[in-house]
Each structure stands twice: as structure tokens, then as C-alpha cells.
């Protein structure tokens, strides 16, 4: 059984996935790697969380998917942001920055 996930709020995971796909389209493994990379290894998103999130976000219309070829020449499903996904990324980023600023201020206060 997998070790307990670090407490990843659903909104956080969604935001990380949107961010990971902001530059280029990626397949599932790619998204996982990219998140590890941009969070400097803090978040290691397992398949059990990643795929449900990807499918849910696709159904919400934020992502679209297409079959392509992976770096190992294998057929893989690539995800990309839609227009709605970019908008979501913007609003969610702003919200998150507000929250993290507020949290940081709150925690520094003695």
C-alpha cells in the first residue's frame, strides 16, 4: 500500500497540474515529473491521485487530451490546457498568492 500522501488539498493538486501544463502538453508521467521538478521534490504525486484529478479536470473542461508518442516511442495520452484551463490557472494562482501571503503574515505575527 502507498505511504500516506502529504496533505495535498484538492485545490492545491489542481493548481499544480494546471501550472505543470502551462508551458507544454504532457502525459501523466510527465505531469508527475514536472510537479516534482517545479516544487523542488516537495510533492511526489502518485498515480492514485494524479489520474483521477486529470480525468476530473478534463471533464470540467480545463484540460483536453490527445494520444501522442512518448520519449520512449510509446503511445501515450497527452494533456493540454484549454482556454478555460488557463483562466482557471490565473484565478487560482491569484487566490493562492493571497492566501499564502495572508498565512505567511499571520504566522510571522508574534
Amino acid at each position: 500500500m502507498p505511504a500516506p500522501q502529504s496533505d495535498l488539498l484538492q485545490g492545491t493538486l489542481d493548481l499544480l497540474i494546471l501550472k505543470a501544463l502551462a508551458l507544454q502538453e504532457l502525459h501523466g508521467m510527465g505531469v508527475s515529473r514536472r510537479i516534482a521538478q517545479i516544487t523542488v521534490g516537495t510533492f511526489d504525486v502518485k498515480a492514485g491521485s494524479l489520474f483521477p484529478a486529470l480525468h476530473r479536470m478534463e471533464q470540467a473542461g480545463w484540460l483536453t487530451s490527445a494520444w501522442g508518442e512518448s520519449e520512449t516511442n510509446r503511445r501515450a495520452k497527452f494533456y493540454a490546457l484549454t482556454k478555460a484551463g488557463r483562466k482557471q490557472l490565473r484565478t487560482e494562482s491569484e487566490r493562492w498568492e493571497r492566501i499564502s501571503l495572508a498565512m505567511a503574515t499571520a504566522l510571522r505575527t508574534t
Binding site: P2, H27, G28, M29, R56, G61, S70, K77
Partner: protein
């Protein structure tokens, strides 16, 4: 939004492709992950295994992806249903038993609820039916009457003109009239209604117009008639040109002014009126009695209705009407009509009479059927409960047997909620199938029940339809959901608690123990309910047997009866009398007829003509003690087989001016005590004029029943029919030498030849008539017997199941005991002790229940106590023997096990 809809569409209709794509996507992920690990120097096999492990289980990932799909619930439901159907189909015996049990439970309940709804609960099909009430007078009326809900015409006028609580009042009188035309004639139920009837009820016309207040202002002035919609369709084939034409009612030309709106058959549910006539035409429609123009206050005949003013409750109205009623009674008590009908001692009780309001839908049929139908509803409720207990037991047994299956499903990743849902889906499937079959069953049962309940000539087009409406369907769905939750939830919850490791490891015969106490309890409940139903069945069957063995006191075999009413054909009194005399001769010539008797009053139909009598030494009497009277033809007693114990019977020569009577022994004891009654005289009290004792007793007969089989014969007096006042109706009795049913057709044909305009009504044998009068008792007895037997069967099956299971669980223990020297008798005793404890506990509970509920059925019993010891003990013995045998089978099987086999038993 659109993307969601598309996703939903894909998820529902392209599931397999989505699943294939998901497989491929995850496969790619795994390969990429293991390639990464291989780059770190891990061997390919190990890399792949690690990758798989890191995902936390590929199947689980798939499952959680499916969980986020739009419309996942629908998907799951379809999956559950499919799986449920497959599981149930794999076990057809279980499935069939379960569905049959449920169908019986739900079907019986639906049939009864439908009957209850339509016969007892339903309101009138009019505007605001709950605001329409019947106004009646309680207590003794001291006069003649047409039933407990009627009042006199002048009293109706007093109430109508002086009350403060009704926006308006109307009244009606049900009459049987003859409709004739061309070569056909028929007697049909009619309603004579006041002019305010249709407007107050808010019933309109489908064609033409309804009766208006103007039509009902002056007696005899407006010969108009409104047809009921169903009668217009059936009798006149829906002929639209009927409005404005005249039809003959009682040979009186009446103009059809309209057809009432569909579905309205008058205000007496159960006796659909075919035509509506202004009550001012009473004289023409009921030539045998008046009451309208003579304004008699001692003849109660109209049923009065009022529509409550807005904001006035029934209780308020009843209170506020009381002073008015009292002032009417104060006035009536002064009238000579009253003083002639009652003794001075009757004044006080009469003045205590009160006004009472009843729901407008109330009538005699409802009154009679309310208790029996509620009783049957209660019985069927108990049967449903039993069926549920039985199914819960079956499902528990199945859940135990399926513990391994459930454990496997839990182990490979099914959630517990999912398992509960799956098991509930199965029980819902079962109960839905049960409900469908039950509904069909209920439809059939209701058709049969209505036929039993209703007079034969009304049954064919009776308004109580056997097709259930929305409320009944709601009841069925409710019953279905309730049962499936009741019998499905317990096993489901237990099933979901299954310990994976325990169940998978545990391959031995030591089946889980926790279910057994629950199952025992369910069996105990079944035994208790069965005892309750068996006791009920015993009480009702014995009541029926008591009633059946009563007999009226004269031989009823070979006795045929029918009714005619020539006066409804417009015959004058003289023509009617001559008609009877000629008919009497004619009937005697029919081959197979031994003797013919005429009587103005029917026998054993619950009706009676009662009147106070006076003589030298006595005067008047309250109605309960008034003798029962009839007017009869010369051969009446000979035809019925009633002997003459003193004096003589009437002859054809007993015609005026002298008045004669034949009395029974009770009459002689009560009114003419001491000495020979022959030659003594008495008189009939008349509220219209003073009378003297001028009727001479010429004969005495023994006491025989008159109104119904349950009565002790009342005092009776008979007068010659052609001299009487009630001769316009006549009941004819034929004693036959052959089976009376062989003569029925011949008789009809002869009557038609004799006079085609006088229809023969209610032609039947007296035995059939008696059978019909006991139909409610027969219905209750037969249904409760069926329910009792069914309940016992279910309890026995339940007990067998739980005992067999207990024995199987203890096989190894039994083996050890036998190895240590126990003989088969010890094993049987061991098993049977538990069985008997279970039965005993069930019986004790059942006894307490039955004793507590016994009083509720007292009024439905005859000739025995509701706590009849014989019935109670008998039921207990039957149940103990049946259930004991069911327990003995597994006990015997256990005792015959060889010790070695039992020990090796895994």
C-alpha cells in the same frame, strides 16, 4: 457545461472504449515509470514491480478514476443491477421463493388497501367533498323509518330553513323504480333529490342540464329526469338526442333534461343511482308510500345533507344545531302523531335525542364493511411483516454463505458502502419483482372480492373499480421500499462488516456465530405472528361454523324466492291484487313446484316491518320491543314448512271486513298471556288516527327466525296479504320437488309470458340468499384461514432453516459428544431443547399479543368468546407440532451422524 454533457454521454454509452483507453494510459505510465527506475540501475522485472507498487494498485487507480467520471452513480447502478440480476438468476430456487413470498405479502396488502380505499376511505366525487355532511337524529324516532340516517320531510324543512351553519342543505331518497319502453322493462336504482342537490354538490351536466331548484318547487309539477352518465351510455347507447325525449318511469312519462357529468353516480357509494328525479315527484316514483304531501313527522325517509359554511367545523355545526333540533322535538312531542305512536314514558328519552353530523360519504354499506375490512387490512399487514421476517432470514442465511464472496470483493478493493449498496440493490430487485407480481395478484383478488361482496346485479357495473389508482400505487411502492429496507438492510450491514482475513482463512465448518441469534429472534417473531394469525383464523372459522349451523328454523332446501313490484308498472291496487291471484295459480302449474307462498316482507334479509300494538291490557312499546309483522298469502306457512300449533292458517276466504291474524308463540306469551290466544284481539297503533283492538287471532305458529340468522325469534304477527297495506311489493317463495335451480329459467320465461312489464328481481334459492348474507363472515373466515396457514408455513420454514444451520455449526461438537459416549437420544434432546425454547418464546409472545388484541374482534364473532380457550390452545398445539417436526428433521440428521464423520467434518 457542454464538456460535462459530452463526458456524461461518453461515460454512459462508450464505457468500454473509455476503459480500454484508461488501461492503455496507465500501462504507458507504468512503462515510463519503470524505464525511469531502470535508468537508476534496477533490473527490468524489479523496476516494473516497483512501479506497480508505487501506484498503490493499478485496479484501485482505475476504480478511483471511474469514481470521478460524470454519471458515475448511473454507471454503478447499472452495474449493481446487472450483477444483482446475475446473482439472483444463479440461485433460482431462492429467488423464486423470495419473489413469491413478497408477491403474496404485497399482493394481499394491495388488494386490501385498494378495497379499504375505495369502499371505506374514499370521499364523494363532488366539489369540496369534506365540507358535505349528513345531518341525522340520534336515538329512537318512534315511528316508521328507512334506516338510521333518515329524518322526516318536515324535519328536513325545519332544519333547512332555520339553521345558521350550512350555506345550503339538500336531501335525497333512494328508490327502486321500473323503467320501461318498447318490449323491455328493468328495475333500476334511482335517487329522488331536492332542487338544491346538484348545485350544492357542484355536479354539472355532460349533456343538457341538471335538476334546478325550479324543478322541485311544487309536488307533481315537473316530470323531469337526469340520467347518470354510465346509465346513459349503457342503456341508451350514448344517444345524444335523448335530451328532450320522454321515457317511462313507473309507467309515468318523464322528460329527460340532461345527463350528469361522468363518474357521478349519486351520493351513496356502492349503490350507483341510474337516474335522478326531483323529490317533488315522490308520489309517482314511490306509489307505495307518501311522506311528502302528507307531511308525516313519524315517517323518517329522507337523508339530509348540508354544505358547511366556510370556517365552520363539523363539531361547531353539530353543537350549534342542537338547540334547533331540541325545539323541533319539543314541538313534535306535543303532536297527536307522537302520542299515538309512543307511551308517556317515551317522552323523556325522545327529548334527549340529539343531532349528529356524519361525513357525507357515509352509508350503510360502509358502516357494515368498515370493521371487517380494517380487520383484513390488519391481518394482511401481519402477513407482510411475516414475509419480511422470512426474507430477512433467507437473506441472512445467504449473506453468511456469501461471506467468502464478500471477503474476496473487499480484498480486491470494493468499498464497504459499495457492498451495502450492492446487497440493497439485490433486495430492491427482489421486492420490485415481488411488487409487480403482487400488483397483478391484487388486481385478480379484488375482482373476486368485489364479486363476493356486492349484490349480483350491481357487481357488473359497480363503481368500485378493481384497478388501483395513484394512491394505491403509491402504497405499493411504499410497501416495496419499506420491505426491501427492512429485510435487506440487516443482512447488508452484517455482510459489509465481514472480516476479510477471518473469512478467507476460515475454511472450516465453524460458520460465523453472530448471525444465529438474530436469525433465532426473527424465527421467534414469526412463531408469534403465526400464532396470532392462527388464533384469528380459528375464531373466524368457528364463528362462520356457528352461523352456518344456525338455520332459520325451517327447511331451506328446495326453496326458491324472487321479488316483484307490479305497482311500479303503474298498476292500481285492484289490478295488483288481481295480478297476484292470477300469478299464484299460474306458478302452481310449473312442473316441479310443490307449493307457493306470498309475503310482503322478505325473510332473513335484515328488514322488518315493526309497529306498536295495543290491546285490552297493553298499549304501545318502544321500537326494540315492537313485534315484527308481515302480510302473507294462504299457503305461506305450508310452503316454508312452518307448522300451525293452534287454530288455523289463512285461507283464500279470509277477506274483509273482519280482520284476522296468525301470531307466533312469543307474541302470545308477550301480549296475550294466560289462556288460549285464539279468538283474542289486538290492534296496530297508527300515528294518523286512534285505533281500537279489532284484529282477531285465528292461529298460532312456533317461533321461527325472521330478520336474520343471529336473532332470537321476535314476537311476530301475520295478516292476509290482500287486505294489507304493504302488498305493492311482494316476495314469492316456491317449494320445489326438484333442484330449484332447474326451475329458474322456466320460471323467468313463464313470468315474461305472464307479464313482460313486471321484471323478476333477485331470483335465487333461499340457501343462496343465506350464503350471501354470510358473505362477509365467509370472506373473513376463509382469508384468515389462508393467512393463518401461510403464516404457519413460513414460520416452519424459518425454524427449519435456523435449526439446520445451528446443527451444521455444531457438527464437530456433536461428533466430540458422540465420541465421548453420547447416544443419539442425547443429541436429539440437545437440538430439540433449543427448538422448543424458541417455539415457547414465540408462543408466549404470540399469546400475549393475541390476548391483548382479542377484544378488537369481539364484534366480528358469534357464539364464542374472543379469548376462547379451545381456539387458543388448539392453535398453539397445531403450531407446536408443525414447528416441532420442522426442528426434528435436522435433529434426527445430527443424531445419525457417525462420530468419525462428524469429527472429520470441515
Amino acid at each position: 457545461m457542454i464538456s460535462r454533457l459530452r463526458a456524461l454521454w461518453n461515460n454512459v454509452f462508450r464505457r468500454e472504449q473509455l476503459d480500454r483507453e484508461l488501461d492503455e494510459e496507465l500501462q504507458a505510465y507504468l512503462e515510463l515509470a519503470s524505464a525511469e527506475k531502470m535508468r537508476e540501475g534496477v533490473s527490468p522485472e524489479e523496476a516494473y514491480r516497483d512501479a506497480r507498487r508505487d501506484t498503490g494498485g493499478v485496479e484501485q487507480v482505475k476504480e478511483s478514476v471511474r469514481d470521478v467520471r460524470a454519471g458515475v452513480w448511473l454507471d454503478r447502478l447499472v452495474q449493481d443491477l446487472r450483477y444483482g440480476v446475475r446473482t439472483l438468476a444463479k440461485n433460482p430456487a431462492f429467488t423464486l421463493i423470495a419473489i413469491a413470498t413478497l408477491a403474496l405479502g404485497i399482493g394481499a396488502n394491495t388488494a386490501m388497501f385498494n378495497l379499504l380505499d375505495q369502499v371505506v376511505l374514499r370521499l364523494l366525487p363532488v366539489r369540496d367533498p369534506e365540507r358535505v355532511v349528513i345531518v341525522r337524529e340520534t336515538g329512537n324516532h318512534y315511528g316508521n323509518g328507512y334506516g338510521p340516517n333518515t329524518i322526516s320531510w318536515p324535519m328536513f324543512e325545519d332544519l333547512r330553513d332555520n339553521n345558521q351553519v350550512f350555506s345550503e342543505m339538500f336531501c335525497r331518497f333512494p328508490a327502486t323504480i321500473t323503467i320501461s319502453g318498447g318490449d323491455r322493462a328493468a328495475q333500476i336504482p334511482a335517487e329522488l333529490v331536492s332542487g338544491s342537490y346538484f348545485p350544492i354538490l357542484g355536479v354539472g351536466a355532460a349533456l343538457g342540464r341538471t335538476i334546478a331548484p325550479d324543478d322541485d318547487a311544487v309536488p307533481d309539477s315537473r316530470p323531469v329526469v337526469v340520467l347518470s352518465y354510465s346509465f346513459w351510455r349503457s342503456y341508451f347507447d350514448g344517444d345524444r338526442s335523448i335530451v328532450g325525449r320522454t321515457i317511462n318511469l313507473n309507467s309515468y312519462a318523464m322528460t329527460v333534461i340532461g345527463v350528469a357529468q361522468p363518474g357521478f353516480d349519486g351520493v351513496e357509494l356502492g349503490v350507483p343511482a341510474k337516474v335522478f328525479v326531483p323529490i317533488m315527484m315522490k308520489t309517482e316514483m314511490t306509489p307505495h308510500s307518501d311522506g311528502l304531501k302528507d307531511r308525516r313527522r313519524r315517517l323518517s325517509w329522507v337523508t339530509a345533507y348540508g354544505r358547511l359554511k366556510p370556517g365552520v367545523s363539523m363539531e361547531q355545526a353539530q353543537l350549534s344545531l342542537q338547540p334547533l333540533m331540541h325545539s323541533i322535538l319539543e314541538m313534535e312531542v306535543q303532536q297527536p302523531e307522537f302520542t299515538r305512536s309512543a307511551t308517556p314514558a317515551d317522552r323523556e328519552p325522545f327529548l334527549r335525542n340529539r343531532v349528529e353530523l356524519l361525513p357525507g360519504s357515509e352509508n350503510d354499506l360502509r358502516e357494515d364493511m368498515r370493521r371487517p375490512i380494517w380487520l383484513l387490512v390488519a391481518l394482511t399487514g401481519a402477513v407482510l411483516l411475516l414475509a419480511c421476517a422470512n426474507l430477512a432470514n433467507l437473506l441472512l442465511a445467504r449473506a453468511t454463505a456469501r461471506e467468502r464472496e464478500l471477503a474476496v470483493r473487499l480484498a480486491i478493493g470494493a468499498g464497504r458502502a459499495r457492498i451495502v449498496r450492492q446487497l440493497l440493490t439485490e433486495s430492491l430487485l427482489l421486492s420490485a419483482a415481488g411488487a409487480v407480481v403482487g400488483l397483478a395478484l391484487a388486481f385478480l383478488v379484488d375482482r373476486i372480492l368485489l364479486r363476493i361482496y356486492l349484490p349480483a346485479d350491481a357487481a357488473s357495473e359497480f363503481v368500485v373499480s378493481p384497478i388501483p389508482d395513484g394512491r394505491v400505487l403509491a402504497f405499493v411502492v411504499g410497501a416495496m421500499l419499506l420491505t426491501s429496507v427492512v429485510f435487506g438492510l440487516l443482512p447488508a450491514l452484517r455482510g459489509s462488516r465481514t472480516e476479510i482475513t477471518l473469512s478467507l482463512k476460515d475454511r472450516s465448518g465453524t460458520l460465523s456465530a453472530s448471525g444465529i441469534s438474530l436469525r433465532r429472534m426473527l424465527v421467534g417473531v414469526q412463531v408469534a405472528l403465526s400464532l396470532l394469525l392462527l388464533v384469528g383464523a380459528g375464531l373466524f372459522v368457528r364463528t362462520l361454523r356457528n352461523l352456518d349451523s344456525l338455520g332459520p328454523g325451517f327447511p331451506t332446501d328446495h326453496l326458491l324466492t324472487f321479488r316483484i313490484n307490479p305497482s311500479l308498472n303503474g298498476y292500481s291496487d285492484e289490478q295488483t291484487k288481481s295480478f297476484y291471484q292470477r300469478l299464484n295459480v299460474k306458478l302452481q302449474t310449473i312442473p316441479g313446484v310443490a307449493s307457493v307462498g306470498f309475503s310482503s316482507m322478505p325473510l332473513l334479509k335484515g328488514y322488518a316491518w315493526q309497529n306498536a300494538v295495543l290491546g285490552k291490557d297493553f298499549e304501545g312499546a318502544p321500537i326494540e320491543e315492537q313485534p315484527v309483522l308481515s302480510e302473507i298469502g294462504p299457503d305461506y306457512f305450508a310452503t316454508l314448512g312452518i307448522p300451525i300449533v293452534a287454530g288455523r292458517a289463512f285461507t283464500a276466504q279470509d277477506v274483509g271486513p273482519a280482520k284476522y291474524a296468525v301470531i307466533n308463540e312469543s307474541f302470545a306469551r308477550q301480549y296475550l298471556p294466560g289462556g288460549n290466544p285464539i279468538g283474542q284481539r289486538f290492534g296496530l297503533v297508527d300515528d294518523m288516527e286512534p285505533v281500537s283492538p279489532d284484529i282477531e287471532v285465528i292461529g298460532v305458529i312456533p317461533d321461527r327466525k325472521y330478520r336474520d340468522l343471529r336473532e332470537t325469534p321476535p314476537a311476530q304477527a301475520y295478516f292476509p296479504y290482500l287486505e294489507g297495506v304493504h302488498f305493492r311489493f311482494m316476495n314469492i317463495y316456491l317449494r320445489t320437488q326438484v333442484d330449484p335451480r332447474q326451475i329458474e329459467n322456466e320460471l323467468r320465461e313463464r313470468m315474461r309470458q305472464f307479464d313482460p312489464h313486471v321484471p323478476v328481481v333477485e331470483l335465487q334459492t333461499v340457501n343462496e340468499q343465506i350464503g350471501l348474507s354470510l358473505r362477509t363472515e365467509r370472506l373473513v373466515a376463509s382469508l384468515s384461514a389462508v393467512f393463518g396457514g401461510l403464516a404457519t408455513l413460513l414460520a416452519v420454514i424459518g425454524l427449519y432453516g435456523v435449526t439446520a444451520y445451528a446443527v451444521m455449526r455444531r457438527t464437530r461438537e456433536i461428533g466430540i459428544r458422540m465420541a465421548l459416549g453420547a447416544v443419539p437420544g442425547d443429541v436429539i434432546a440437545m437440538v430439540m431443547r433449543e427448538v422448543l425454547i424458541l417455539i415457547g418464546a414465540g408462543l408466549a409472545t404470540g399469546f400475549l399479543l393475541a390476548l391483548a388484541l382479542a377484544n378488537l374482534v369481539r364484534s366480528q364473532l358469534f357464539g364464542l368468546n374472543p379469548r376462547d380457550p379451545l381456539t387458543f390452545v388448539g392453535s398453539a398445539i397445531v403450531l407446536t407440532v408443525a414447528a416441532g417436526l420442522a426442528g426434528l428433521i435436522p435433529a434426527l440428521r445430527a443424531s445419525s451422524l457417525a462420530a468419525t464423520t462428524a469429527l472429520r467434518h470441515e
